[in-house]
Each structure stands twice: as C-alpha cells, then as structure tokens.
C-alpha cells in the first residue's frame, strides 16, 4: 500500500483514527438529468445536470481496527514469497467498516493461497464469487468479488479482481477453495468471466446452448408490455428509471 496513486491524505499521518475516505475512487458512471427523461421533453430544468458517480477510493494508513494487522501480515507474507506487495495489491479500500483488497488478477491465486495458509491470516472459508459489471469503468468492466471468512480469527475481508470486457479472463480459485467450483460457473454463466484453470467451466443455471451472458448490464431484461385497465404498462426495463 506504499504506492497509492489515489491517496490525497498524508502518508505519514500518525493519528490513530482511520483515514478519511478518499474521493479518488473508480468512476462507474456519469449520471445526467434528474428524472430519467433522456430524450428531450424534460422541462424540469434538471436536464443539464451532470454528476459523476465514483466508488469509495483507496484508503491510507492506518485503516483502523484489525485491518492494519491483516494488511501488514499479508504484505509481509507476500514479501517472503518474493512478491512485491505493491504489484499484487492494486489498492486497499476501507469503506463502511469493510476491508477490500483490489488484487491484480495475475497474482490472485498466490494471494488467496497466502490468505488461506498463513497462520496469522487463516481465511479458511471462501463464500464464493460475485460478478459485477461496471459498464462505466473503462478497461476494468468486469469485477469478480470474493469474500473470505476467517473462522480462526473471526474476520471477513473482500478481494476484488477486475478484467476488461475485451479480455474477460481471471485465474480460477478452485484449487485453493474447492467451494468456488459452482460459484465460478455461476459467474461465468451470468457475466462471461472466464476462470482460467477451472476444471469444467460450463453453464450452470442457464441452458447449455444459451447465447449471451444475462447479468451483464448491456443484456436486456426482456419482458413484454401489459395492458391494465386500458393503459399500457411497459416492460420493467422500458419504464422510466430515476437512477
């Protein structure tokens, strides 16, 4: 975490309080207007409103609580394996009392194995992988999010790995956490994330011959308009969105 391009706080701040949340998080979308009217006709005066939405950015030390201990141990353990922590851990985010390590995908398996095996870390239980598709996060559209639980120490952390839409490959964690077998198949099925090294990466929920990856944001929800008491109610994804 010594290299922290987004940190705007003082690196040498010795106060024992968690660092303020950084504003330099990933830009995931730019919101325009206010009431969901995108194609003219917005007479509210808010049509020109432009807002950038960013995820919480990297935190700087100290993270607070046991977060520092875990980060120290992980960095130390990676250094012992001759892996520069700054290369493996892209950034560390502390948000809403949760610790997230953004891991470079090529080092994911090694980091996970370290987290599982190191006696001071011991994250024995992986609760699977959750895919997220950020269309607005250019070059890092597909995120795979892992939650690791340590029963020994009673802790839980999050690993986040990203891959671009053009190269949706992430190494498989099945060798480290066999429980991820079905979870990775599910993430593949819905997001098209290809987990390299998975023993049998096939569709699990959708039919085997299904085209496309349904939970990507550019995949339509579908549905048909229905008539109710004479009025046409459009399909859910055609309705006005206020987001």
């Amino acid at each position: 975490m010594t290299e922290n391009p987004n940190a705007n706080g003082d690196e040498h701040n010795a106060n024992a309080v968690p660092a303020p949340r950084d504003t330099g998080g990933e830009v995931i979308r730019v919101r325009k207007g206010m009431f969901g009217a995108n194609n003219g006709g917005d007479t509210s005066g808010y049509g020109g409103l432009i807002r950038t939405v960013t995820l919480p950015g990297a935190a700087s030390r100290p993270y607070g609580g046991w977060f520092d201990e875990v980060a120290d141990e992980l960095e130390g353990a990676l250094e012992e394996q001759d892996l520069l922590p700054a290369n493996a851990i892209e950034k560390t985010v502390v948000d809403r009392d949760e610790l997230t390590f953004h891991i470079a995908r090529e080092h994911l398996v090694q980091v996970a194995r370290t987290l599982r095996d190191d006696p001071a870390l011991r994250f024995e239980l992986c609760t699977g992988v959750s895919g997220v598709h950020f269309l607005g996060d250019k070059g890092r559209e597909l995120h795979a999010v892992y939650h690791l639980r340590s029963l020994t120490h009673g802790r839980i952390i999050r690993l986040e790995v990203s891959a671009p839409d053009s190269d949706p490959h992430i190494p498989s964690l099945v060798a480290v956490y066999p429980t991820n077998d079905w979870h990775e198949r599910e993430a593949y099925d819905f997001f098209g994330l290809i987990f390299d090294g998975h023993p049998a990466l096939t569709r699990i929920m959708m039919p085997d011959d299904w085209q496309g990856f349904p939970q990507r944001k550019d995949y339509p929800l579908g549905g048909i308009a229905v008539e109710y008491k004479g009025a046409q109610i459009p399909a859910p994804d055609q309705r006005r969105s206020y987001s």
């Binding site: 609760t127 859910p236 987001s243």
Partner: protein, 440 residues
C-alpha cells in the same frame, strides 16, 4: 425389449431407457443382459424426493453409486437481474421468493445490507430489530420442520411428515397473522418492518410456544431412538470438517462435523449477542447428527422467541427518517393485507405535501450512496450472504445472494459417491437444499 413405459433408444452414449413407473425389473433385466454393467440414472428433475427440481445424475454399479453429479438451474428465475430494475424497497418482494422456506432470512439479510449502505444501522428502532429476530427464529422452526418432515417422508416415515407439516402449519398461521401472508411476505423492509404486530399477536405466540413445547419431544420419541431411523441415517452422508471447509459447507452440515460455527455467535447481527442460547454440535459428521442438531436448534429457537417476547417494548417499527421510511400504511382487510383506506383518505384529501412525498417515494424511491457491502445471516441452512452494490441510484446496481443451499449442495458428490443408491436420498435430505434458493 419394448414396453410403453421403457422404450429403449440408441444414442452415442449407449442405450437410453426412459423409466417412468414400476418397470424397474425390465430395465435391470436388460442391463444384466448387456455386457456393460455401468448404468447412468437420471434422478429428477421431477422426482418427488429431490426437494423440488433437482436433477441427480448417478452412475451406479449394482446398488453402489460410483459417481454422482447435480444438474441445477431448473428453477432459475433471474431474481438477481430483476432486482436491478426495481427500486430498493421493492427488492424485498423479490428476495423473499428465493429460498421460499426461509423468506424472513432473505429479507433481513437484504435489508441489513441496504441499511449498511445507507448508514442507518443505528437508527433502526429496537422493536423492529427484536421483531426481525422473532420472525427469523420462527422461520428457523418452520424451515427445520419441513426438513425433518420431508426427510422422514423420504425414509418412508409418513408419521414424521404429518407431524412436521402439522407443526409448520402453526408457524405459518402466526406468519399469516403477523404479515397477512403464509409465505413470500415482503414484510422486512429497508429501515424496519412493513407494519407492527396486530393486536393479540403476543398471546397467540405464547400459545404457540406452549404447543411447541408439547410437540417437539414427540419427534424425539418418534425418531431419535428409533432403530430403523438410526440404521438409515447413521454414517450416511458423511462429510468431515476438512471436507466442509474445502467445500464451503455451513450450517447444520458444518456443525455436524463438530465445529460450533454459527454467525449468530461468531459475527452477531440484530443484537444476537445479547440473547441467551446455545449452538448444538455433533461429532458424527453424518445425517443422523444433522437431524439431532436441527431438533436441538428448534428448542434453542423457542428459547430465543421467549426472550424476544420479554423484550418487546412499544415503539415504532420503521426508521424516523421520512426520506427512507415507506410512506404507505397497511391495514388487514377482509381479503388480506392491503393499503389502509384511512391513510389514503388522509393524504389524498388533507395534505398535498404528504401526497407528493408518497408519490415520490413510491414511484422514484430513495437513493443509496455508491459502494458495496456484504452482510451475512445464519439461515437454517447455513451462511446466507448478500453482496449489495449501489451506484448511487434508486435501484440496486447488483445484488448477489450467496445461498447456503447452493454451496452445500456441492457437497452432494462427496457425500454420496461410494454409498448405496438409497442413501443418496438420505444424504441429499440432510443437506436440506431448497431449489428456490439454489437457482434463484
């Protein structure tokens, strides 16, 4: 050999028979005739003992299962995708339908996640939290009762089935009284609950506890010491601690391997750390141990419910923040729970501001600050985790449910391979998978 029920057809994989009734003898006969003794049996997806639409693909050699695989996805309904097109409050209506036997766990886990993203965990009224615990523990009872009932039925013990569903009905009656619905309640909402308990609810609850204290020992008398029951369950569906950890199994499966891991104790939520209860374990790693654990957990749930009743203080059940609290008032009408006509008359007739506010919140919803969170609750089946991502809008950007049924079902192969065909049913029943949760 052709019969209307088992017509053979040649495929690239060998001869395939579709067996639909009591024509097993003919299939076995023809299998004996052929030189290849390897038979692959498709069990399900409409088999009555597979808890819904689970397809088991078994490679059997005689009576022994040499390989077992699951085919899932027959009940996939795209709930996670649908959530992304509804506002945050509407989300509970969807998630309650995931694992339909544990609706309150799904709702509470989801709402805890939304509340954490909103940063309003401290503002949730105490009464709402106590009621959430109460509903979850009642729900644990009903879920375990179904597990024991259907598990017993699959062994041929129809009495257990009748008893289990009889007692579950009592829980569902309570749910109906509290929420207006027996299932799919959408009662827990971000910020609190849809409404308060109706008059007379606590008395009914006390009556229920009394009845359950009388009924629960019946399962012990009927099954716990029963030699046939034990012979069918003991050492069946074996999965030790190493296997559980590797396969991510949680809940009764993990506790039957001797580890007292229960999120209510290890990572408490909803104030569980202040309740007095125990986490039962077994060291047998088998179906019988899981059965005993479920029985004991029901007794512990009754203890928690009693403590909840003592803690129920009058007060609000929804956050005070009117920018989040769902504005509608509900009333129980002759046809179930619906809008309160008095409330509608009030906002439509007397207060323009209330009407605008109502309209904005219902059509647009509230915004949730961008970020992500993971909240987990101990459902009757194990760790139910919810990963909620917000992009700062009025709709969830992504909601992922880590359903314990889904994860635990992976252990099916490890539990069944090398065992008897008849034991597959017992092993799967001891996992207690609910396909609504597995497939979502």
């Amino acid at each position: 050999m052709t019969t209307p029920h088992a017509t053979p057809r040649a495929t690239t994989e060998g001869t395939v028979y579709t067996v639909t009734g009591g024509d097993w003898d003919e299939v076995v006969e023809s299998a004996v005739k052929s030189d290849d003794e390897r038979i692959i049996v498709n069990m399900g997806p409409q088999h009555p003992s597979t808890h819904g639409v689970l397809r088991l693909i078994l490679e059997i050699d005689g009576e022994t299962v040499t390989e077992a695989r699951c085919g899932i996805g027959y009940l996939h309904t795209g709930i996670e995708k649908n959530l992304e097109f509804r506002n945050w409050t509407q989300g509970t209506t969807f998630v309650t339908r995931m694992d339909y036997l544990t609706p309150f766990f799904n709702e509470t886990a989801y709402c805890l996640g939304v509340e954490k993203l909103l940063g309003i965990e401290d503002q949730i009224p105490d009464r709402a939290t106590v009621l959430r615990v109460l509903l979850m523990e009642l729900n644990r009872l009903s879920s375990h009762l179904v597990c024991i009932a259907t598990g017993g039925m699959e062994l041929g013990a129809t009495t257990i089935m009748i008893y289990g569903f009889r007692d579950r009905e009592l829980v569902l009656d309570l749910f109906e009284l509290f929420t207006g619905l027996r299932m799919n309640h959408a009662f827990v909402r971000p910020g609190g609950l849809a409404q308060d308990l109706p008059p007379g609810a606590v008395d009914q609850l006390r009556e229920f506890i009394k009845t359950m204290k009388k009924n629960l020992p019946e399962y012990d008398k009927l099954a716990t010491g029963n030699p046939i029951f034990k012979a069918r369950m003991q050492d069946v569906g074996y999965l030790d601690l190493t296997g559980c950890m590797a396969l991510g199994a949680t809940g009764p499966v993990l506790r039957s391997a001797g580890l007292p891991h229960d999120l209510r104790k290890t990572d408490p939520y909803c104030g569980y750390e202040t309740y007095d209860f125990e986490v039962p374990t077994a060291d047998t790693c088998d179906s019988y141990g899981r059965f005993l654990i479920r029985l004991e957990e029901m007794r512990q749930s009754l203890r928690i419910i009693e403590q909840c009743i003592e803690r129920l203080e009058p007060g609000p059940v929804m956050v005070a923040d009117k920018k989040i609290a769902w504005p509608a008032q509900l009333a129980l009408g002759a046809d179930g729970l619906g809008n309160s006509l008095d409330h509608i008359r009030n906002i439509m007739g007397t207060s323009m501001e209330a009407l605008i506010h109502h309209f904005k919140l219902v059509t647009e919803g509230f915004r949730v600050p961008a970020g992500q969170t993971y909240t987990a609750v101990e459902s009757p089946k194990g760790e139910l985790g919810v990963h909620v991502v917000s992009d700062g809008g009025t709709r969830p950007y992504r909601v992922h449910f880590r359903d314990p049924s889904f994860t635990n079902l992976q252990a099916m192969a490890a539990m069944c391979e090398g065992g008897q065909v008849a034991d597959v049913i017992v092993a799967v029943a001891s996992i207690d998978p609910v396909m609504g949760g597995v497939d979502r």
